[in-house]
Amino acid sequence: MKLAVGAHTGTGTWLMQRATAIVLSLALPGLTIHFMLAWPVDFAGWQALFAPLWMRVLLLLTVLALALHAWVGVRDILMDYVHFTGLRLALYLAVIITLAGSVAWLAAVLWSQA
C-alpha cells in the first residue's frame, strides 16, 4: 500500500521541544533551590511562598513548558509504537486532556482564595 508522507510539519514541534527544554533546565533548578531554602515549611509558610504574583506566573509558565515538552515526547513514543491511527488519535486526545487539565488545575489552585 502507498504511504502518505511529506506532512511539511515537524520542525515547529521539534523547535518547541528544544525551547521548552531550555526553559525547564533554567526554571526547575531555580525553583527547587527556592523551595529548598524555605524548607521546612508549614501550610502558612507554603502559602506565603506562592503569595508574590511573579512566583505564581513563573510556576505556571514552567509547568506549561513542562506540559508542552511532555506532549512532544509522549507523542513521539506513541508515533513509534502505536501504528493503528485511530488508537493513536485516541491516545493523543487522552494525553492532551491530561496535560491541559493539569495545567488548568494548577492555575486554579494558584489563584484560588484559600
Binding site: A7, T9, G10, T11, W14, D76, M79
Partner: protein, 231 residues
Amino acid sequence: MKFRLYRYNPESGKQPYMQDVELDIDPAGRMLLDALLAIKARDETLSLRRSCREGVCGSDAMNVNGRNRLACITPLGELSEPIEIRPLPGLPVIRDLIVDMEPFYRQYRSIKPWLINDDPVPETERPQSPEDRALLDGAYECILCACCTTACPSFWWNPDKFVGPAGLLQAYRFIADSRDEAMAARLDNLEDPYRLYRCRGIMNCVDACPKGLNPTEAIGRIKALLVKRRV
C-alpha cells in the same frame, strides 16, 4: 575459536536457531570474514554476502557480538568468544546472515540520491570551490552497508516511513552540494514527523558506522536548515 551462528533456512520449515561452531584458526592478522569463509568451506550451507573483503563494498554487514560491523574489517583477535553472529537487525531475513535490503534501499531511493541541476550541461565539468567541496567530506564516503540504519530503533519501529541515518546522510550530501539546485524540494521531501523527525539523536548510527561517519551531525544540519528557512 568458538562461534555462535544464526542459522535460518525458510525452505527447511524449521525455526531459526543458533549453531555452535568450533574452528581451529589463528586470529593473528585475520579478519572475521576469513573465519566465516573457513566455516563455509566446511559447511557450504552457511549463507552470507561478501565481495571486496576490504570494507569498500559494504556487502558483509552483520551483527557481531551485538554490534553491527563489516566482517571483512573486524579483526578476529579483538572479539570475545563465543563470537555471536546474527544478521543485521530490523530487516527480514532471507537465509542465515542474508537480509532483504529492500526496505533500506527504498528509503535511499526516496531522497533522490543524484545531482539535480537543470542548467545546460557545460562542455567541461561543473567546478566547485575547495570550500564547497569540503562540505561533502564526511557525507560522500558512505558505502550503504546499512550498519547504521539497522542499528537505529526509530528505523526498527517505522522502516516504511523513517528515512534512517544512511538515507538522511545521503540526503544531506546532495543538499550540501553546491552544484545541486533542488535544496528547497529536498527539504520539503524530508520535512515530516516520520521521515526526518523520528531521529532523536541517540547516535547508535555513529557508534555503528564502520567508516567512522557521523549521520547524527548531518541530520542536525538538515534540521538547522529547516529551522533557518522557517524562523
